[in-house]
């Protein structure tokens, strides 16, 4: 009865890890065959994985480009843009308030303006208000007046044409 030696898992792991299992392997033909089979399996797995991972050059170039793109500093996000706009608005409001307050203070503390200047300013204001009132009462803006005349002419011409047809 010749008990054939057999590598146990620990010995296989040792052997695969590069540890010496030569004595055991040399002692037993079956062990040698099994160890060779494991080595073969390892080689084939490696070869198989390598062939699966073997990609064309453009694949790697594209991958490099994508990584580069992801590492590049990004443009400001919309959130940041919104925050910047909000900050600008706050700044503007602050500046306006700061501008108005001194004026009011100045008005309070400023010496009296000569009467003639005041009257002239009031008359200028009146003229401006009258102009505004006149332009509000006008149906069309002054710039569209020629167009309105043209429309009127076209309308009257078409009405005359209708009347002629009826007659």
């Amino acid at each position: 009865m010749d008990l054939v030696h057999r590598l146990n898992e620990a010995e296989i792991a040792d052997a695969l890890a590069g540890k010496a299992a030569e004595e055991r392997v040399a002692d037993c033909q079956y062990c040698a065959a099994e160890f060779a089979a494991w080595k073969d399996l390892g080689g084939r797995l490696r070869q198989d994985l390598e062939s699966q991972a073997d990609r064309p050059a453009y694949f790697w170039t594209r991958q490099q480009a994508r990584i580069r793109e992801r590492l590049a500093p990004r443009a400001a996000s919309p959130r940041w843009a919104a925050a910047a706009v909000f900050a600008l608005i706050l700044l503007a409001v602050g500046l306006i308030q700061r501008g108005v307050t001194p004026k009011m203070e100045m008005a309070r503390t400023a010496p009296a303006v000569p009467t003639v200047q005041v009257e002239q300013a009031e008359s200028d204001d009146d003229t401006l208000l009258e102009d505004i009132q006149a332009s509000l009462q006008r149906e069309l803006p002054a710039s569209l007046a020629p167009a309105a005349v043209l429309v009127e002419e076209v309308t009257s011409a078409s009405e005359q044409g209708k009347q002629l047809k009826e007659n």
């Binding site: 898992e9 073969d40 991972a53």
Partner: protein
């Protein structure tokens, strides 16, 4: 040391927080990282995305690289963490794709197998057996699979595997031992693995 230049580059980048030529690191390691990830996740697209994630993360975390391991081992450890984080139930997709692979891919795979000097029938059988091994490896618990693949497919020494996985060398050996046991048990008769014989 294999990566002295890279380590210096990464170290300088970490110290100065200035983007240096990280392209070099990418070019040198992307293929290996992709292969490791492909072995782990078994999905080419996912492996591609995770490779990008791995290298981007490496750049972002370059300050944490202390040079205790090689750059390669450090990158592999990042890749493994990413693969773990990634869904674990996507493996089935790979097998579907593998067996539904276009004819030319199958031919190429068979040609590779035929290089071993076998007949087409034997090549096909060998291919099927290899598929079976992958299936078994795929079903191993995560740690065992990682150790098994790093040892078999990447031929990393146990010490480097331990560094990459953040565990003791003895633990790595235990995982390898269990993985080998499982593969051996579950293989029916390929390569004569796992058959116990008593001759008279």
């Amino acid at each position: 040391m294999e990566n002295t230049l890279e380590m210096a580059t990464l170290g300088r980048a970490a110290a100065e927080s200035v983007p240096l030529d990280f392209d070099l690191v990418v070019r040198q390691h992307q293929q290996r990282i992709y292969r490791v990830l492909l072995g782990l996740v078994r999905d080419p697209d996912m492996a591609d995305n995770l490779t990008q994630d791995c290298l981007v993360r490496a750049y972002q975390k370059r300050a944490s690289f202390r040079g205790e391991s090689s750059v390669s081992t450090w990158l592999i450890s990042i890749a493994i963490n990413l693969a773990r984080d990634q869904g674990r139930n996507r493996r089935a997709g790979f097998w579907r794709r593998l067996f539904a692979a276009p004819a030319e891919e199958t031919e190429a795979a068979l040609a590779t197998a035929a290089d071993l000097g076998a007949s087409p029938e034997r090549s096909l059988m060998a291919r099927q057996e290899l598929g079976r091994v992958w299936e078994i490896v795929d079903e191993l618990p995560a740690r065992q699979r990682e150790v098994f693949l790093l040892r078999f497919a990447e031929e990393l020494p146990l010490e480097e595997i331990a560094l990459a996985l953040g565990m003791e060398t003895g633990t790595v050996k235990a995982h390898l031992f269990r993985a080998v046991g499982t593969v051996r048990k579950r293989m029916r008769k390929p390569y004569g693995l796992g058959t116990s014989t008593e001759r008279s």
